[in-house]
């Protein structure tokens, strides 16, 4: 949490963040909610406009905001600083709004209908990509028969080998995969397959299409897919980009140990169907002929040992009458007299 006290300005080491001690329970809850978590849930998006925008680019921003609701915020205020020139504004706003995705729309003669999409890591810009938006049709212009439910996470489809071969598009693919979906879950209700975002790469251009999925009866278990365009529809042409620095990328890619551990119990351990944790004990090879076995006990000693064990077990069961065997005699007395410790 960034401190605004005069200390921050006076002390030379600026990157240090002073953690404010929460003064009440509500502040503490907010602070804990913002702490890093082992498993990250839905990330928020922040949409902003630059000093100059066109109606089209504003509509696109609003459409994307609608798609990402409720984990999205659209700032009514305009942002003066352009992210590629000065990212302090973006970083500050993303921190205050607790968002790790951002979209920035602007328009200038040099860069008409400009859209910047990016991510942050630890409240600093991780990567961002600047696109020129063209071939635009907003959600209002489409009249689909069925709308996907609120907060339904779309499928994402990438078409084109550019997403594999072009290093910039590889990063763009990562961004889009991250940005348009919710956090991955373990189960999917098949009726919840309601919409899909299709991204097609051709050269340096990427087509963004958003379709609703209609599942029709087919002859088999797998239904027939019919797509209905929902909008928005636009083509993106990559302009500038800033990829993640390799050391930051490495840190962001770390998987917490707890997450990895919950997947498997650990070496040698398994869970069987009963829910028991089962492990294996690996013995060295033993030759049964060479086994060292203790000499057999004389029968009276063996019987005494057995009766001692039986007595200790029965003593634990309340109200159980002890059967007095003729053979038990001394051994039983000795056992009883020895005390009541468990075997």
């Amino acid at each position: 949490v960034m401190s605004k006290s005069p200390t921050q300005q006076k002390v030379q080491n600026a990157p240090i963040r002073i953690k404010r001690k929460p003064r009440n329970a509500r502040a503490k809850r907010v602070m804990l909610a913002r702490d890093p978590k082992v498993r990250e849930e839905d990330r928020r998006t922040l949409f902003m406009r630059g000093t100059h925008t066109t109606e089209i680019i504003t509509d696109i921003l609003k459409n994307l905001h609608d798609m990402k609701k409720p984990d999205s915020r659209y700032l009514p205020r305009r942002i003066e600083k352009h992210p590629f020139e000065d990212d302090t504004s973006i970083e500050f706003l993303c921190e205050k709004n607790e968002s790790s995705f951002f979209g920035f729309g602007s328009h200038s003669k040099k860069r008409p209908n400009n859209l910047i999409l990016g991510r942050t890591f630890n409240y600093k810009v991780y990567d961002m990509y600047e696109f020129g938006v063209s071939n635009i049709k907003t959600m209002d212009d489409f009249k689909p028969s069925k709308f996907p439910n609120y907060c339904n996470s779309p499928c994402v489809v990438f078409q084109g080998d550019g997403f594999d071969h072009n290093p910039k598009l590889v990063d763009v693919k990562s961004l889009f995969l991250d940005m348009f979906q919710h956090a991955p879950s373990e189960k999917l209700n098949l009726t919840g397959l309601e919409h899909v975002v299709v991204l097609t790469a051709k050269g340096e251009k990427v087509a963004f299409r958003h379709y609703g999925i209609l599942l029709k009866k087919s002859g088999s278990k797998v239904p027939r897919v019919v797509l209905e365009e929902l909008g928005p529809r636009f083509d993106l042409e990559l302009r500038r980009n800033r990829s993640a620095a390799p050391d930051v990328a490495r840190e962001a890619a770390r998987v917490p140990k707890q997450q990895a551990a919950s997947a498997k119990l650990g070496k040698n351990l398994e869970r069987n169907a009963m829910g028991d944790t089962v492990g294996r004990v690996h013995m060295q090879a033993q030759s049964l002929d060479q086994l060292q076995v203790a000499p057999p006990m004389p029968p009276h000693a063996a019987r005494a040992r057995l009766s001692r064990l039986v007595l200790m077990q029965t003593r634990k069961v309340k109200g159980l009458k002890r059967s007095r065997d003729a053979g038990e005699g001394d051994a039983a007395k000795r056992a009883r007299g020895a005390g009541d410790e468990s075997p």
Binding site: K37, V157, D164, L177, D178, N189, L190, V198, A249
Partner: protein, 332 residues
Amino acid sequence: EMRDTSEEQFVSALTLIKQRSARETGDDGSRGPEEESMSYDLGRMAAFYNSSTDSFDFNNHQEMADKASITVQFLVGRLFSLPSQPAEGGRTVDLPPPTTSLPREKPVPQPRPLTRWEKFAKEKGIQKKRKDRMVYDDQTKEWKPRFGYKRKANEADDLPPIIEAGPGDDGSESPWEKKEKERKDRMDKQKNRERRNKEERGETAHLAPPPDAVRAEKKAATEAALSLARKSTASVGKFDKKLRGEKKDAIKRKLGAEQATGDVKHEKARQLEVLNKIVSLDTATLDLDKAAGRVSSFLPGERDGDRRKKGKTGKKERGTGAKTKARKGRGK
């Protein structure tokens, strides 16, 4: 996947696609994407068609939708073939863990270091026991709360108002004071332990400089902390008396020193600066063409053809004389 074609109820999605494609386009669907070019990340409900897209026309929206529907069909086919259980409205499938890794939002949280007690408890195998709210009172044979209203009476905690002196008591020590003192001691010790834990965790004071700070940074941090503490009074340092040799921090004012004083010269210059931005007097020119047009518009009887026309290159100023200069306020 090889399927027994005699089982007519099981038709692969690919067959369906090929059939539909053949029906609609009249060709064998070889233009459409093949399943071999597809790869998936079912954990993220994502599909990747890794083939050339040169034939895609971004402006042909029907074609784009058709091609997309083929890819989506493949994805849906894969999702439907995952292991599933019945659920409301249909079935629920178990998604596999995602295969593509995406960057995190925040760094991995560091596990909190164990405190002294936690280490000891772990070593000894001591488990935390959760205390119940209700406790059985043997005396009244009732369940009573452990604390609060109508709680179970505890002889050790609630001393009676009259206590008989034991053989060793000579009246110098009050048992109530003694109990209170013991309680205070316990609390102080606990506070010390907590403070020690905090230090061992490395949590420093709010305004302390980091351990690797340079001397100048430490000095700056001390001064900053001092200035903050100095004004931490009820009136935020406004009415506090100064100590000898102490300098109070500058009062925050709304206007800067320049703006607050009445400096006529500078004020004039500033106002002209503002005016220049709106109407640039220095580079102001008189376009006779326009001026004439404006004048003629309210003079009766003037027609367009009669207006005196001057070339566009003739940007002439009315006058460069002293009077004009004075009027325009030039020179300052």
